[in-house]
Subunit: 215 residues, 2 copies
DNA sequence: GTCTATAATCAGATAGAC
DNA sequence: GTCTATCTGATTATAGAC
């Protein structure tokens, strides 16, 4: 089957058709892989997820998987890059006219929604092999830094607005917000079955921003 | 070496010396095992901890370990029983005249201190084999329920005192407090190296009770 | 690039002597 | 109960044909 002839007929001549078409197939396949990895990471975590499982869910052989990603760690890293890209895209959509505090609230709500919908990968916070791979992944690190910079700017703005406690170091606030994306309270409340997802999110939003003390 | 003769000479006759002595040795050995398990669980988590490691750190053969505990899960469960016992003992020492809110604050501070000192086992919140073992362990479950009941009573008291937000379900408050014992914010701030343990604890105490909003 | 089949390794658990 | 030596199974990773 001459894919080159087909794609040549459909593609402007100045774009190298063959390469573009194959690259598209490659990326589509890799997107499918990452989607499965993302879901399994959210469901079971890094260690419990097996490469056999990933291959089976994608519907390809394990050896083929290793042609795309050289290790299990790289699979997880690719999923995290995807999450960072989604986060960056979401930050772009946050209403620019809202207050800094509202922007932050919007983002935290979004991350908790992802978590409750099983789309937030949960990595062990202290796996050294995975950490090494992640820190060596420039796409991930660049994304993380970009997200952190933008959130950090909003945090400082909210502090000078008098909306966020200025006595808290901005970095502590940032970590506190990040931690909502993997907060076990979300799963526990969900397991309890007494609350809808939307209620759970508002409860944790309240404890996060207003605290548990009465006001 | 006739341990029986030695212990007979040192022990009142009406107490079955041989059994008592052997039982003491057994318990002492098991305490040593649990201590190592506790430390490794705090350091690396359940999945990263290996039974070989436990045996090596205790200084006994792995087969001997399995004479005391039938599985890796039971090792972790024993460590958690120990934590529950420590928690119960600590609850007994909390000043009974303090306000319910102050009691809760004291307990949360204590758990975060344990975590920062590497004495708080960190279990994956969703490992099914471990969960099953834990839920089947009556010593653990009884301890957990006792602790939860006592904290729950303080939470409700604090709410009727007007100290804790009465709109929050008590169970959500309980989970929120429990979650401080495994809060990744603690490790991240510690890794940053900018704050002392005591400062880190007060920061997280503040975000937990007062929230990140300005007051 | 995809597959089947297989290596290589590691970790939980056990056998059997003492 | 403790040890050495071993089993068993699961899992990451690769070889080699197509």
């Amino acid at each position: 089957m001459d894919m080159n002839a087909i794609s040549s007929a459909l593609t402007p001549a100045k774009v190298p058709a063959k390469i573009s078409f194959k690259a598209q197939m490659l990326l589509a396949r890799e997107d499918a892989i990452i989607k499965v990895v993302n879901q399994l990471l959210a469901e079971k975590g890094f260690e419990a997820m097996t490469v056999d499982e990933v291959a089976a869910n994608v519907g390809i052989a394990k050896a083929s998987l290793y042609k795309h990603f050289p290790s299990k760690e790289d699979l997880a890293a690719a999923a995290m890059v995807g999450v960072m890209q989604r986060a960056q895209a979401f930050l772009d959509t946050v209403a620019p006219d809202a207050s800094a505090l509202d922007k932050l609230r919007t983002v935290v709500r979004w991350t908790m929604g992802l978590k409750l919908h099983g789309e937030m990968p949960s990595l062990p916070s202290q796996n050294s092999s995975l950490r090494t791979t992640l820190m060596a992944n420039t796409a991930y690190m660049d994304g993380l830094m970009d997200v952190s910079d933008r959130l950090g700017a909003w945090i400082e703005q909210a502090q000078s607005d008098g909306a966020i406690n200025p006595k808290l170091p901005a970095i502590a606030v940032l970590y506190t917000l990040y931690a909502r994306a993997c907060d076990p309270v979300l799963e526990f409340l969900k397991m309890g079955g007494l609350h809808e997802n939307a209620q759970i999110i508002e409860l944790v939003m309240s404890t996060c921003f207003e605290g548990i003390n009465a006001r």
